[in-house]
Amino acid sequence: MIRLERVTKMYKTSTRPALDRVSVSVEKGEFVFLIGPSGSGKSTFLRLLLREDVPTRGNIFVSDLNVAKLPRRRVPRLRQRIGCVFQDFRLLPNKTVGGNVAFALEVIGKQASTIRKVVPEVLELVGLEGKAERMPHELSGGEQQRVAIARAFVNRPLVLLADEPTGNLDPDTSQDIMLLLERINRTGTTVVMATHDHSIVDSMRRRVVELDLGQVVRDESRGVYGVGR
């Protein structure tokens, strides 16, 4: 589903590559933790998958798309196959919960009738049934992140990228979010989650890819956060 082949990313402002000959392959339906200290290249990894940036060298494939060589006008097609969740939720403060989720479909031109049907479904999936008319600021952090996940998932992406999705949440709420991501993963969606959260990685026992100074230093199928240190 995702394949990086000797991917190197240099930024003009730095002499050290942000990613250094990284090769990783993720199968359809896998759940992968991307860990490593700040500056290890996790964000660059995710940005390259989304084609927010292009690699300096190497190839990246997401489903059947060659991301690095994708012409500009086809980038939206890639992004429609990838859902994204962030630490800061990125909800639109002037739209309701339902409006936020619907927005993701409206802007890719989905029919109003489709939107009316699938938005309640996905809100139920993330446990927000009955809260469609609330405004984001009326919700707790955990609930806001659920809205963000609903928005990322509503178009049924093949891949869900999560960049520190529990970074702003307390441990209990974080656990709930992880259960939700697991449920989404069980629908067949590939999940790649960048995180610093030891306890989550340790309790989930999923594949762990560890980056350090832009290189893959560990890739274990049922890993924990701090092995060998």
């Binding site: 980038v75 939206p76 992004r79 927005f103 993701a104 409206e106 890719i108 031109g109 928005r151 990322a152």
Partner: protein, 300 residues
């Protein structure tokens, strides 16, 4: 394309930036108003020129001795001049105005003024009034042909007399176009700035749109339509302003000279025709500026 969605985004954008929107509309309106004024000036100059080209003549005035002795252009000097003129392919017709006729006309023109009492028939020359086939090309040739002839005092091209009027109208046109240009630059910068501000205030929306795979058109169209809407509203205001200006002061201003037939009046039709040009001009300028701004300054 979901038109309801785009329309909603445009309305939100215009409402959110209401002060900028108003500034943009007004600047565009003033700029287009000046363009319209310039176009009307050009119109007026053209029709004034047409008006005069039918009436203008070259006047060949005769010397004092010929003027006083020959009252019907029957004597050799005048008759020769007249024949020469009439034989020229440049000339359409030649009329002779004798000294007494000139005196009558002078009294008529300056009736009630003291100069009419002072002047005597002898002080006015007899004149050959020459109507040309083409005023623009013929006048200089006639002047050269006649200037050194015996019996000719001087040659007056009436174009020289009205040149001052055209200079004035041309000046009005140039000044309005110069102002319009300066104002247009301000309008362009303001449109560009407004689009940037608009994109900045909606950066979260735009960020989400990009992330979920909205196409470039979907992300840019609301901003472009916003710009075009303000451009069109500005043009409509400008048109309304021109029409109002016609009735409120242009008509008064030109009333005296237009009634005398010095320059043709500016009709409502003229103003409406110019206004019809302003709307697409406003829309196109706003759209192009918006597009270029989005391409250059805004990452969408």
């Amino acid at each position: 394309m979901r038109t309801d969605f785009v329309a909603r985004e445009v309305l939100t954008g215009l409402r959110r930036n209401v002060t900028m929107t108003v500034a943009m509309v007004l600047t565009t309106a003033i700029s287009l108003g000046l363009v319209g004024t310039g176009l009307l000036a050009v119109n007026t100059i053209d029709s004034t020129e047409r008006l005069y080209s039918d009436r203008l003549e070259v006047q060949v005035s005769l010397t004092q001795d010929v003027s006083s002795t020959d009252t019907d252009c029957s004597q050799p000097i005048c008759a020769n001049l007249r024949t020469t003129l009439e034989n020229s392919p440049l000339v359409e017709s030649v009329d002779f105005e004798s000294q007494p006729q000139a005196y009558e006309r002078f009294k008529e023109l300056f009736a009630g003024q003291s100069i009419a009492e002072v002047v005597r028939p002898q002080s006015l020359p007899a004149t050959l009034r020459v109507k040309l086939v083409d005023q623009d090309t013929g006048a200089e040739a006639i002047r050269q042909a006649m200037a050194d002839q015996v019996g000719v005092r001087n040659v007056i091209d009436q174009r020289d007399v009205v040149a001052k009027l055209f200079d004035f109208l041309g000046g009005v046109r140039n000044v309005t176009f110069a102002l319009a240009l300066v104002q247009a630059v301000a309008a362009l910068l303001l449109i560009s700035n407004t689009v940037q501000v608009s994109a900045y205030t909606r950066r979260t929306e735009v960020g989400v749109m990009r992330l979920v795979g909205a196409t470039r058109w979907y992300t840019q169209l609301p901003f472009l339509i916003e710009a075009v809407v303000t451009g069109v509203v500005g043009a409509v205001l400008a048109s309304a302003g021109l029409i109002a200006a016609k009735f409120v002061f242009i008509d008064d201003l030109l009333a005296g000279i237009a009634q005398n037939g010095v320059i043709p009046p500016i009709s409502l039709l003229d103003v409406v025709q110019v206004s019809i040009y302003l709307v697409p001009i406003g829309a196109a300028i706003a759209a192009i500026t918006g597009y270029v701004t989005l391409r250059l300054y805004v990452r969408l």
